[in-house]
């Protein structure tokens, strides 16, 4: 009798993501799928709204990465107000947004590493689930946990100072920003009481990277062989090939490193990317038009960014980048657990960028906005913590949104997450008669590596369980667990 295993994180409103693993009579995996329910009609909801409301409006999408949506929308609307396609803002306008963005990257990457990744590393995939979490880290590795808390807090404070507030910030507006950074705010971030200052944040980012590298040295076999599969990779890069998380051109490389998308302007994204619908998931499957639906899928996020860019324009992160690239002799890295490594290099890069920006006197200038000839349509792309985020809007003659299209980072990673789940499911479940918590955790680890945003926008007390259901080929529930 075949069996179906379902791993189902349920949320109240946002829909839910779940994993189903179908086993045959010999307990071998015949199929696995990650189903994700994403934003329900949000693009439709934008229609008819005045365009200037959109950067605030889109923050309703997500409680985890509202800043990324805020900035991607603002970038798209820069085009509509005639402020150019990423390079037309005033220096203070662009640099305040970059500061906001790197505050977001810093806190998000720190949160992922300390809250979601480190418990697996510290306690192992088969570790006691009762302590394999951030509370367990706090009990046994207090210094590490304190660093995670304070790094996240620092990034959140950067966001509050640049966006105006933590919830529904208004900092980025079409054509620029609505505030600069005061000297007092700058000095707080530069020279604040220990540990909330940028030098400490850089030191801790390096410490997190050293921690990972130390773990890697002792667990190379696991890190190098967990969910490894070839993929194309896509991200924004600066025109000279440098990593640029705020703005750039679209570049993609294939599994061997050959360039397959050659520095395309963001406004032309729809010429190279399309989205496929499959009947078993609400989440679309983006693909490169030139390669078709079967071969055109790609990975985004930290691993992809380090596979696509040629260098990192800050010295400490560049040094780490060179060590990291040497592991694969400069070729694209396809090892899923190296996403943690790549994420920590970006964490360090963001800390360095924040310091450079804080020392830039442009942040205290007053020419906050610019505008030009109004356009009907605009596209804004940004490298969000989880990968490339696309916002595309068209307005009518009444300045109302007529069309909106969003491709979020987790959607871009739909196919690679499915492949990672399949890889791990086969290695963990094949031939096994019993399903252990550790086996299921390995599947989650594969998903966690991508840091997908499944739990955003709303929440409620007690409404975020993880449900695992074991079903036979007749549809009978054999076992069901919630945690």
């Amino acid at each position: 009798m075949g069996r179906k295993i379902t791993i189902e994180p349920v949320t109240r409103v946002e829909g839910h993501g779940k994993v189903t693993i179908q086993l045959d009579d010999s307990n071998n995996v015949t199929q696995s799928r990650l189903h994700v329910v994403e934003f329900r009609g949000f693009e439709k909801f934008c229609q008819g709204r005045p365009y200037w409301e959109v950067p605030v409006l889109v923050q309703r999408l997500c409680g985890i990465c509202p800043v990324s949506h805020h900035l991607a929308a603002a970038k798209a609307l820069d085009v509509i107000v005639g402020a150019g396609t990423g390079d037309g803002l005033t220096p203070v306008g662009e640099k305040m947004r970059r500061l906001m963005h790197h505050g977001q990257m810093f806190q998000s990457h720190a949160l992922h590493f300390f809250h979601l990744a480190s418990p697996d590393l510290l306690f192992g995939a088969d570790g006691d689930p009762a302590i394999r979490n951030v509370i367990g880290v706090a009990l046994e590795h207090k210094d590490l946990a304190v660093q995670g808390v304070m790094m996240r807090k620092y990034g959140q404070e950067i966001i509050a100072a640049t966006a105006g507030k933590k919830v529904h910030g208004t900092g980025a507006i079409p054509g620029g920003i609505n505030k600069n950074l005061s000297i007092a705010e700058r000095d707080t971030f530069l020279k604040g009481a220990d540990p909330l200052n940028i030098d400490k944040m850089i030191a801790w980012a390096q410490g997190a990277l050293d921690f990972f590298k130390g773990y890697y040295a002792k667990n190379k076999d696991f890190i190098d062989n967990f969910a490894v599969f070839p993929s194309s990779h896509l991200s924004l890069v600066r025109k000279d090939g440098a990593m640029d998380l705020y703005h750039g051109v679209i570049r993609a490389v294939d599994a061997d490193g050959k360039r397959i998308v050659n520095d395309v302007d963001c406004q032309d994204y729809s010429k190279i990317i399309a989205e496929e619908v499959k009947n078993w998931s609400y989440m679309k499957f983006p693909y490169l038009r030139a390669l078709g639906t079967e071969k055109g899928w790609y990975t985004v996020g930290p691993l992809a960014r380090l596979n696509v860019c040629e260098f990192i324009p800050t010295p400490l992160a560049q040094k780490e980048f060179e060590i990291y690239k040497a592991l694969t002799n400069g070729k694209p890295n396809h090892m899923s657990m190296h996403m943690h490594y790549a994420r920590l290099i970006e964490l360090l890069h963001s800390a360095e960028v924040i310091k450079d920006l804080l020392n830039d006197p442009d942040l205290q200038k007053d020419n906050l906005t610019t505008k030009g000839t109004k356009q009907k349509e605009g596209v804004g792309l940004i490298e969000a913590p989880r990968g490339t985020l696309f916002h595309h809007y068209r307005i009518n003659d009444n300045d109302q949104i007529e069309m909106a299209n969003l491709i979020v980072s987790t959607t871009n990673n739909n196919e690679p997450m499915n492949r990672a789940v399949n890889y791990v499911a086969k290695s963990a479940f094949n031939g096994k008669k019993e399903v252990t918590e550790g086996m299921m955790n390995r599947v989650e680890m594969a998903i966690r590596a991508y840091d997908p945003c499944l739990s955003c926008a709303t929440h409620a007390l007690g409404q975020m369980p993880l449900e695992v259901t074991l079903v036979d080929s007749e549809g009978t529930i054999l076992d069901q667990k919630r945690k």
């Binding site: 994180p9 109240r12 409103v13 009609g41 949000f42 909801f45 409006l57 923050q59 309703r60 409680g63 985890i64 509202p66 949160l111 300390f114 809250h115 979601l116 418990p119 689930p129 009762a130 302590i131 394999r132 979490n133 951030v134 509370i135 367990g136 706090a138 009990l139 207090k142 946990a145 304190v146 995670g148 808390v149 304070m150 996240r152 807090k153 959140q156 933590k166 919830v167 529904h168 989650e444 998903i447 966690r448 945003c453 499944l454 739990s455 955003c456 926008a457 709303t458 929440h459 409620a460 007390l461 007690g462 409404q463 975020m464 369980p465 993880l466 945690k483």
Partner: protein, 164 residues
């Protein structure tokens, strides 16, 4: 209890109708300049909130709830290490546990869960939620006053399940 030592923390997404009940409570507390408290709000609770609340002697978390009875419940909570591992958010109990473990602070803590009904991509509370909001706010003000005086507050309203 001394002034400014009660941390009142509303969380939820104001862009999803009744999910904004928690932040709406905080907005009203701030607009009315209620003395003796520290207010905060965010979309979700997270690890840095362990540090934020650690400077206080008591914390009241205010959230929307789909499950609670009308109009609201008010419950004392204890630290708990139970974590929904694959998500980014944390529960009030896990924030308390992190606060206790990292900052050696074992504080008095409550959750006010206000019944909500509508959760679409809209700003503003539903009419039914507004009624619950008003009752919850009235209760909360009295509760804060009693806590600041250091007195217990009798279980006399709504669904208050535990008292100091």
């Amino acid at each position: 209890m001394k002034d400014n030592k009660i941390y009142v923390y509303g969380f939820g997404n104001p862009g999803r109708q009744d999910d904004g009940l928690g932040p709406a409570i905080i907005d009203k507390l701030e607009n009315e300049n209620v003395p003796g408290i520290i207010t905060d709000s965010n979309y979700q609770l997270n690890i840095e909130d362990a540090h934020n609340i650690s400077q206080s002697d008591a914390v009241i978390f205010v959230d929307a709830s789909i499950d609670t009875e009308e109009p609201f419940s008010f419950s004392k909570i204890e630290p708990s290490a139970e974590i929904t591992f694959s998500t980014h958010t944390m529960s009030p109990e896990s924030v308390l546990a992190l606060c206790k473990d990292l900052y050696d602070k074992d504080m008095e803590a409550y959750v006010m869960a206000i019944k909500g009904y509508e959760w679409e991509f809209l700003e503003g509370l539903s009419d039914k939620a507004v009624n619950n909001f008003n009752e919850a706010y009235t209760f909360l003000i009295k509760k804060i006053e009693e806590m600041l005086k250091g007195h217990t507050f009798p279980q006399q309203h709504g669904s208050a399940e535990n008292t100091i």
